[in-house]
Symmetry: C2
Subunit: 365 residues, 2 copies
Amino acid sequence: MNLRIPGPTPCPPEVLAAMSGQMVNHRGPEFSALLTKVTGLLKEFFQTSNDLLTLTTSGTGALEAAVVNTLSPGDKVLSVVIGNFGERFAEIARVFGAEVVMLQFEWGTAADPEAIRQALHGDPAIKAVLVTHNETSTGVTNDLHTIAKVVKEFDKLLLVDAISSIGSIDLPVDAWSCDVVVTGSQKGWMVPPGLAFASVSPAAWEAFRTAKMPRFYFDFGKAKKFADKGQTPWTPAISLYYALGVSLELMKEEGFQNIIARHTRVASYTRKKMQELGLSLFADEHCASNTVTAVNVPQGVNVRALLKILKDKYGVVLSAGQGKIADSIFRVGHLGYVGESDIDAVYEALRESLSELGCKVPLLT
Amino acid sequence: MNLRIPGPTPCPPEVLAAMSGQMVNHRGPEFSALLTKVTGLLKEFFQTSNDLLTLTTSGTGALEAAVVNTLSPGDKVLSVVIGNFGERFAEIARVFGAEVVMLQFEWGTAADPEAIRQALHGDPAIKAVLVTHNETSTGVTNDLHTIAKVVKEFDKLLLVDAISSIGSIDLPVDAWSCDVVVTGSQKGWMVPPGLAFASVSPAAWEAFRTAKMPRFYFDFGKAKKFADKGQTPWTPAISLYYALGVSLELMKEEGFQNIIARHTRVASYTRKKMQELGLSLFADEHCASNTVTAVNVPQGVNVRALLKILKDKYGVVLSAGQGKIADSIFRVGHLGYVGESDIDAVYEALRESLSELGCKVPLLT
């Protein structure tokens, strides 16, 4: 199978092999050494000297952690929403009692930093800004660097969903003054799902000290206390740490700048190949993501039927859309363990499958 | 290494091999078939027709889920505490705003059902009872059958921490009318840590509908909605489901009653072998656990030194105590993938290590 969805992503064989390691005592020296090692390497990829916490959870749990560790019920937050995952981040804040001001942009476009400036200028009561760096549902990357500058003009807390960006798309956490940045193991990190990582800035720790949203499993304070002695507060998903140790070494070997460059190159190649088929892209070119490409489903084609042929006949697994664009786009994931040849396979399979569905390929645009 | 701690437990080779499977689409038919299969098998081992939900989290996350899905801030709950994990369960309820009435028993003993009856009789405002079936920190198993009868006399909700019991110690969820029962993959299930399982009774669902504690990642309603279509709401730890599929088949092959009997037999053998060394047991004999044995550290022996020799020289990994008995006991785990020969190895290593520490073995008692 050629799994080309925006996560879980395929894992290199060395990483999968590491998953079969036997269990060890999670309170013993072997696990402690491993946790210390992966934490150090993650900090390099996060380009941060902030605390870096690892959690046994999916990415959504880490979004919840970002919210509940820094906010109190009644706090006003600005949620910058450009798709399904931005909506989810806002919903988590709402569920835990924040007063959420929604700043929504058309799906397929990026957030306008100037609109964020106006929102913050107009409402000094806002305490924190929630933003999705890379919106997996629409294939759009926000201009986080500019957004962060705006948020810091007003000295607000910046909570970033970087689940499908960091590790694949440049996000220098300290240089951009991001307070909490979260990601999940099954994205650019080339590890199976089940772990999430969060960086926590001094300003976020200051917010933590007065934050009153209830938290236990996701408590950053407990995680930090145990991390300082090379442990996790609760039993960690040991096998995934084995895999992470191997994948981070592979990533270090390739080099961070090379990884970023490869994702840029493969994304550009993906967009070009889709356009060669006569397919149109959902996201604006200037904000198109380097980890996932959203493609408009051609008129008259049923996306479920297309995905089924791609998979059953050609072994290529793509994703449908989510939310209100569930049926009008499909998505090609190109993050983590990916190169141009994987995209060639997607191209060939799409050409054949579209033909079988009665389309003349390349489509007339 | 002979890992004999009360979790994570060693995994059979077939289970570890399954961990190396490549990723699949967690929204596709292969994962859906696997989730449906493991859910069905777990329900057999839980002896329940209640809903059975699987969560990507450690056991502590499942304890949090049990609380936040059934209670509202201000609800009064009775926490039956016989050790460290009972305290944790109570603390979670407190953090999320419950009014917690503590009913504590001396560590090393089981809860007295009559005291629970009196507590419930004396305080009709209590809505739910939180109880640990098997207290891992002290090696004690509560008489959950009798406790459940008492709780149901008063028609209260019964939330059970069965993390280190169910699957190894008999717990017929429906026959005993337990409302929420949670466990973790790294215990009797012979799977690496990272998954937790929770059964949810109709009465628990009724409580869910009015429960106002905030929840998102651990929301049972979302888990149920997705489980009904063979999915999980958030990206699941796919590799652990592969392992679980294999381990549950191994367990079914051995047979549930045989597994219970093996744990009873190995526990009894463990206690006998410890006593042969002249060691005394921490827990009362009549409530001693079939999954973990707590042993008093002989006078004059430093538990850290003992555990270090056991590991470094004999490859046997045991656990120290927790909380207020951290230095006065050690614990031998015997759940999951375990037989008498594993205990023989513990016995030999203990005999040698105690001698090296200057004890005359068997110790004079």
